[in-house]
Amino acid sequence: MTWDILLDQFATQFGLWWVILPGILLGIVVGILPGFSPQNTLIMLLPLTLAVPVEQAFAFMVALYCANHLSGGIPAILVRIPGSGGAAATVLDGYPMTQKGQAQQALVLSFVASVFGGLITTLATLALLPWLSQIGLYLRSVEMVVVLLFGLTLIAVIAAKDFLKGLIAGFFGLLIGVIGTDHIYNAPRATFGFLELYDGVPLVAALIGLFAVSEALVMIEQKLIVAVEGREQAKRSNWSETLEGLRISLQKWWHIVWTAFVGLLIGVVPGAGASIAAFVAYQQSRLWSKHPELYGTGIPEGVIAPESANNGVTSGTLVPMMALGVPGGTTSAVMMIVLQYHGMVMGPQLFTSNPALAYGVFVSMAVAYVFMIFTILPLARYMSRIVLIETTYLVPIIILVTIVAAFSERQYLFDMGLALVFGVIGYIAHKTNYHVTAMLIGIILGPLFERYLVRALRISEGDLMVLFSSPLGNTLWGLLVLSLVLPFWRTWRQKKALAAEQFGEES
């Protein structure tokens, strides 16, 4: 890679602003609406992307993809409905900030973390591409089992208030995630006789039910989403709130950087993705925080970590596709089809045969992020006004429109009914403090966990010790144990210090 190619690519990509801006706007709309995925949108737009020159097609697709990852956090913050699985962790602190009247700040934090997280990791990918492309080769089924267990430990983190209830919700979700045919024999399990469940539980229906429908059913009790003081603050909101959000973002710059790299590393692993990255980043952020007890109450770090990580994923997922010819996810698979249609051969040779395109993809991503910050940041002030709409209107719109959106993923009416069932379960869980996020993590991770576990066991002919057979896996096991032990050790130390303090006062 030479500087000439890079500079030339930056100039070329900035010149494609007329392609990038529509991509960003469409990506934002698609990201806000639960049920709409970037891959489905790109599939529908294939006639367009196949018809235009490959550089323009790729600039458009990359802009749409990145903007989609950014905007999933908007409904998560404003109405507790994540636009995608990658934004589910944003709900945990984003929505409490909205309830406190800090919606505008939370949106700005989310935008800045997303844009800079995405930008930093894209630039890092450009520099580290040859090495990053090797990561996917080292992480096999054994290591992936441990990576997924990292995600599962978040159940324990979320369940900090009632550990047992959180674990029950999480394992209930995991068992729901196992519904469908198994990966080896295609034997149906717990499908209630519905053919529509043979492919497993549709994630969009679960997401819409557990978050959107259940939240709307709870929302009925209030006139507005925000409390009285929050309402006054939202009414008074002006540009100073945006500036305050920017100030906090700058103050937390290191948090944005390291959580973005968590996203990048997870994104490089084929099949992982934004949901796992966001949850793992949130869990790690809480683990290393000086005030972990404040997570879940509406703090900036709780918004920054998942948003930065789920945009760090964007460049990561393209690495295996560009460097190895293995798409890291469905969206990159669609992009790969477009590239192949234009005669591009993916893999290591792409960097020698067509370096301008190979590096241009990541430059295009960096440029899209630069455009994005100027496009979306001014909108935070106006978007935050949604919290002033009365629930009398919000509840019917949320329930009926999101139920309709549940149809989009697979085009089955069945999924709409399933979303309603999940909505009622989510409502009961909500009212009795069985955390719906823990349930969703279970549903997301259930099928992935099974796939990697069964694969590892098959390789070892059923010997569980295979899970401790690789040096990298064992290192990850060590880090996992540390993640679990550290919070307890920290609590024990705090209690000890408190007891010593009280003893000192008494004597």
Partner: protein, 159 residues
């Protein structure tokens, strides 16, 4: 006295599902059910601990089996049941009425249940939502939603 009855609903659902899961996998080979058995067994064990914990609280007189949190506050219960019923009716009517008309009628009913009384507000909010859904799902995305009288009429007009 804490109303512990509500806390039993999710464990009861989870236990029922786990029992059904075990039944459905009974005849499968080990590899096809290993993961489910592992997760299900842990889930059942966790529920058992929760039941013991609740039993101790009941024995101490710290709670009873009321399930109040699920239907409190009472004034919201009617709206809540109404919204679920309207959604069920909406999904059931969709194949006959098509997306646009079914959504328009469901929005009218839902807004009425939520307490909107002004006819003009009812009509314009419902029409706006139905029109937006028509434009997005039928016109732009060409989704496979069932077509009803409105879709057929508009298709004939603009054909």
């Amino acid at each position: 006295m804490a109303p512990l009855g509500a806390d039993l609903v999710i464990p009861a659902l989870a236990l029922g599902f786990a029992a059904y899961f075990f039944l459905s996998i009974a005849d499968l080979v080990w590899e096809a059910k290993a993961n489910g058995v592992l997760i299900g067994a842990i889930l059942v064990a966790l529920i058992a601990v929760q039941l013991v914990r609740m039993g101790i609280r009941l024995a101490r007189g710290e709670g009873d089996l009321r399930a109040d949190p699920l239907w409190q506050p009472r004034d919201a219960l009617g709206k809540r049941i109404g919204m679920v019923a309207i959604t069920v009716a909406f999904i059931a009517a969709l194949p006959w009425l098509g997306l646009t008309l079914a959504l328009l009628l469901a929005m009218l009913a839902a807004l009425r249940v939520m307490g909107v009384r002004r006819l003009s507000t009812l009509l314009w909010v419902s029409s706006a939502v139905a029109a937006a859904a028509y434009l997005l799902f039928i016109v732009t995305l060409d989704s496979a939603f069932p077509h009803g009288p409105i879709e057929r009429l508009l298709a004939a007009l603009f054909a």
